[in-house]
Amino acid sequence: MMITLSALLLTGCAFEENLPEMDFDGTVRIPVAASQFSYQFGETDDDVIDVDDNRGFGPVYLGAFPGVQEGLYNYTHPEIGPILNTSQDGNTYPYGGTSIGRFDWGCYQSLVCKVVSGRFATYDDVLEYFADSLNDPVLDGEGNVVEGGVEFQEHCFDVLYYAADYEVTFIGETDFSLDGDHYVANVTLPHTTYAEGMAIWGWMDMPSASGNFSTCDEGTGEFHSYYAEEHYKGASVNDLLNFPGKYIDTGDWVVQDAAIISSPDDSFDLELGYLYVDE
């Protein structure tokens, strides 16, 4: 009887569900030039610094869509469904998607919606980027400059109730590596509904001149309450892939040639080769 039961269980392991969802692996390439952008660290027009640092990369959003079209926007954009109201374009109805990096609360209010996972190796890396590359040092809850990685780490452990660096998701292994003229990252679109001929397309949200990302909302997300520190931790907007045109703005890098998937076994190679500048 036990043998029969075991045999039945083993048979179950081999059951093919024929689900239409697949994982699609690929690479994303971003031109080296994308690491160059301007940042206004003060209130006057003179307080602008030219940055050349790939740690400033925002999240790269990727989606699988039924197709892409020219002419909807000033860049290649997924096809859209019916326009249901005058204040918003049609939904792209994506089949799936993912991102390379995501907004991560950086333990301080001054870092809300400014830190992206997969961009920094260490706490000092974060501090160095904001202080040296942006000329805009990280401030603690009292407005004082965070002096070093140890102070940063201790504060993160306090407010996150963590005890090890591997739990802190905005430091660690970085996503991109330099390969010739491009920064390259590997990525997987998980559990994506497969349709023959679908297009994988995406863009990278880059910080505006004032350092803000259009895809992050500082006024939402989990609320942080720790003694005198009270603020939202920020969160990505929730309709990014449905309405990309709402969020792509000047300075963002967009896929010009979408990858067409013809087989469930296909992989893709995308270049975010088009710098969008609003004219």
Binding site: P66, G67, E79, G81, P82, L84, T86, Y93, Y95, T193, A195, E196, G197, M198
Partner: protein, 356 residues
């Protein structure tokens, strides 16, 4: 095998058989005994026709009708026409509707539909199913005296409101209740359902915009009809539950010019919607004392408790009258009256006579 083991085994087998038979018996329970039976005298799908959008001043006039409200609405086509949004009200169209709908066959959708024309501006859709519902306050630590008396749940019904452009409505008015679901086929042939309904009601949780009120509670939503002047909309009041006491659900419905924020609809925005279930429309009048019951509910300040203690037949039948209506109950609530002198404080809520 020893006798004790044999007995144990026999006992287990017997218990298993009994349990199996009981389980099979449970399969016979359909739960239909807790639902009212359909009454062919009252159709389960009702089409009201077209309602004119009512102005705020006409709404005030409607609210002053008391027990004549159903009749006033039926004759409201003769009320002087006004401008609503960007257009003039159509001659002869009623401004509101008070009516009844019957119980559906089990497993079928029932309800009411009506239409209205866009004004080119915001409008507010309001529906109020009979009668009034509240949860009895049974908290011993922090009792809410106003809700100390139980509600009569058997006289309460519930409808869920949906609305959108008539062009998107897929039901058959008066025959079959539908919805506003449409389908879009993308370039690869994938079919995607799209909600074309525009009546979104906020829920208790952030981001929830497809909520509906519970039993006997007013539902409302705002619609923006800008650029859709004279374009027809359909409103669906889908039956969710029908009162157990008579198997007929009465309701009131209106479309008000302007958004909902200036109205803040509540139980008393449309009162008198609990109608006698008579097949002759002329006899579908507001049930006695239900207007006062609704007004007491909206009044707050313990008026509901005072009303129920004076009109126990209008409130929960399983109430412990002596305990709930004792003077201390009113003292706990800090009210300036009690069960005995309530009518002196609220004479307007005490001049009705409960029907036999």
């Amino acid at each position: 095998m020893t006798p004790s083991i044999w007995n144990w085994g026999t006992s287990m087998l017997t218990n298993s058989l009994i349990l199996t038979l009981l389980s099979l018996g449970g399969c016979d329970r359909s739960g239909t005994n807790v639902l009212p039976q359909p009454n062919l005298d009252f159709p389960a799908v009702v089409e009201v026709g077209n309602l004119e959008v009512i102005s705020s001043s006409q709404l005030v006039e409607l609210q002053s009708q008391g027990y004549n409200v159903r009749e006033w609405c039926d004759n409201s086509g003769t009320v002087a026409r006004e401008t609503v949004g960007n257009r003039q009200q159509a001659e002869g169209e009623p401004l509101c509707y008070y009516g009844v709908v019957g119980m559906t066959e089990i497993g079928q959708r029932g309800g009411v539909t009506f239409t209205f024309n866009g004004t080119g501006d915001d409008v507010c859709l309001i529906v109020d199913p009979e009668t009034v519902f509240w949860n009895q306050s049974v908290d011993l630590d922090q009792p809410r005296a106003n809700y100390a008396y139980p509600d009569v749940e058997e006289d309460d019904g519930d409808v869920d409101m949906f609305a959108g452009l008539s062009a998107y409505y897929n039901g058959s008015p008066g025959v079959e209740i539908g919805d506003f679901t449409g389908f879009y086929t993308d370039s690869l042939g994938a079919e995607i359902s799209i909600e074309y309904g525009e009546c979104f009601q906020a829920g208790a949780q952030t981001g929830m915009n497809n909520a509906h009120s519970g039993r006997a509670t007013t539902e409302y939503c705002g619609l923006d009809t800008v650029n859709r002047e004279n374009v027809e909309y359909t409103v669906v009041l889908e039956t969710f539950s029908v009162p157990m006491d008579d198997g007929v659900l009465s309701f009131a419905a209106v479309v008000v010019d302007g958004g909902c924020s200036g109205i803040s609809p509540n139980e008393c925005t449309l009162s008198g919607e609990s109608l006698n279930p008579d097949t002759n429309r002329a006899n579908q009048n507001t049930r006695s004392c239900t207007v006062e019951l609704e007004e007491s509910f909206c009044q707050g300040q313990g008026a509901l408790l005072g009303f129920c203690c004076n009109y126990p037949d209008m409130c929960g039948e399983d109430a412990n009258y002596d305990e709930i209506c004792k003077p201390e109950s009113f003292e706990d609530g800090g009210f300036e009256f009690n069960a005995e002198n309530f009518c002196d404080s609220y004479p307007g809520l005490c001049d009705c006579t409960v029907a036999e």
